[in-house]
Symmetry: C2
Subunit: 346 residues, 2 copies
């Protein structure tokens, strides 16, 4: 068994013990057919006994492949991103790759540090899980000449690929569902102004409604910020309209939770007086009262697909540039048919 010595043992050490050249050891451990079967077995046995571990550093230097990918995130503290990262990391590990994590925290100088580090470490590819659109440093990354895979953030470029869920489809699912419950007066609380995903979700919802001749007028679109506060102020704004919507689609679950709390404070019951729909299916969507109807993105799968696309790119395959996953509607208890009282009030 391993000698327990902490110093690394190299193929040269093995070569000395086995009485062969280090080249033969290298080939034997790579299971090359150039080595005589008996010699090969003997060398492999000795390597095992000496507790040999190959140096990825030295190997990377000559092969120019490090079996390492760089993962850039805006913040790992976001549970959504964390789950994507889990999908990426597990898939990477299963395929012999490891992941260098770069939390650039949306600070420009930190982004530069990240890019520099990933360059120096010779990563084979880069995955960017950033909620921001058009991250300024993607052009910098592109200069490295290695594949770049974007998660939930489409973009074009020679080395740039993307994996995302279909926000249009998500919005459509919500629209169809609210229609099927009988709603005709539907409002929307947006995310932060810069989020194109917010516009896409709204557009998808509108598309579904238009098939039944229903529209979302501008006055039923309230500005939010993707957080609790924005949801609360958004719902207050919408409830002051006259007539007011009977159902509100919220940019995400945090917005919906803020809306839920504010609506209750005003004295409205959800879903009896008002239906609410969120987006993302965060853990606590199921735990609020009432449990929140929402649209789920398979975050783990998002990460998994991103890594698998990366692997196929490193394998030399081309072709697929844009993978789109379908979201799904999770029906819970925050939606109900509109009350007749509300309908008559119009």
């Amino acid at each position: 068994m391993g000698s327990g010595s902490s110093s690394h043992v190299s193929i040269k050490d093995i070569a000395r013990i086995a009485g062969v050249s280090h080249s033969t050891v290298s080939r034997a451990l790579a299971d090359s057919p150039l080595v005589a079967p008996a010699t090969k077995r003997r060398i492999q046995r000795i390597a095992r006994e000496m507790g040999y571990t190959p140096s990825a550093i030295a190997r990377g230097l000559v092969t120019r492949r490090t079996a390492t990918i760089g993962l850039v995130v805006t913040t790992i503290a976001d549970p959504f991103i964390a789950e994507v990262v889990q999908g990426i990391e597990e898939t990477a590990l299963d395929n012999g790759y490891s992941v260098i994590l770069c939390d650039c925290n949306a600070e420009p100088e930190r982004e530069l540090t990240c890019v520099r580090t990933l360059r120096e470490k010779w990563v084979d590819a880069i995955i960017v899980t950033s909620s921001r659109v058009g991250s300024l440093y993607v052009p910098l990354l592109e200069e490295l000449g290695i594949p770049i895979v974007l998660v939930n953030n489409q973009r074009t470029g020679e080395y740039v690929y993307s994996v995302r869920t279909d926000n249009l489809e998500g919005g459509r699912l919500v629209g169809e569902y609210l229609l099927s419950l009988g709603h005709r007066r539907i409002g929307y609380i947006t995310g932060p102004p810069s989020a194109s995903s917010s516009r896409e979700r709204l557009e998808g919802c509108r598309t579904a409604l238009q098939e039944q001749g229903v529209d979302i007028p501008e006055e039923w679109i309230a500005p939010g910020d993707g957080r609790i506060a924005g949801g609360a102020s958004g719902i207050r704004y919408l409830l002051e309209r006259s007539p007011r919507p009977t159902a509100v689609f919220c940019y995400n679950d945090m917005t919906a939770i803020g809306a839920l709390q504010a609506a209750r404070e005003i004295g409205l019951r959800v879903p009896a007086d008002l239906s609410l729909v969120g987006y993302d299916d965060i853990t606590f969507a199921a735990l609020v009262d009432p449990p929140l109807t929402t649209v789920a993105q398979d975050r783990y799968m998002l990460g998994r697909q991103a890594m698998e696309l990366t692997l196929s790119l490193l394998d030399g395959q081309e072709g697929v540039h844009d993978i789109v996953l379908r979201p799904s509607l999770i029906k819970r208890d925050s939606c109900a048919p509109p009350s007749y009282r509300e309908e008559g009030e119009m």
Copy 2:
């Protein structure tokens, strides 16, 4: 400016252009005093113009330092761990280190893969953020002969160091607070049986109570699992005791939220009829109704301290083996003085 060429430029390329040997370039870029100031400036300028980036791979091979640390977590999807990771990663980046993330998902074969990978990549140190006690592979890690820093998981060993928050202190804070509100009948819902942190929190609470001659009898200790379900079953058990506790300390926030929901179903008002205290201060502790009184651990600081300890170890410093951070009590609305009706009932 950079030529935009994707191929790496090496110090040899610079040497050819500058008309010097690669040794001189190496020294110039390291700002060595052995190089004439004029030459140094010229070489540095050429390096900048050629878009030179040093190869951490080649450098690591000769210096045997990779400026990389391995980070082993049970699951990055746990928000608690994710925030610790953020603290680690940011501190690492600020000091020129990068982090290889290993999500071993508590699966033994994956743990082995992690250890092997970190060995091959020649990481300088390893930080383990694992909620499990006595991870089986720590001995394996110890064989590598590099510093190992454990987060929230004390352990002894030649290369093993730890950073943690004081569970005894956390429990004590809760005990003192409930006493100050006037509670004398206090219950506890445990975490999973294997969690030593659960025992420590209980013990700390008991210590505080004993100073006032109050005890927590065995029948007011309910088994939980650290999750919603365990909190619900735990509180149901406690509310069936007679007399029953007027306040319940829960192992963590998820347990407390489960208890909160179950208590409400039974018809009890929190905090009027029952006081509840959680632990961890997860995001949603502030968002449930009523907002949860809880004990906060500074997760970011936990990570930051872990990385700073690691850096000082890599810097050759010894001495500090165990850093203990103090938790703090976050008072919200889930606790109130016991109602006289309850008191009289005893």
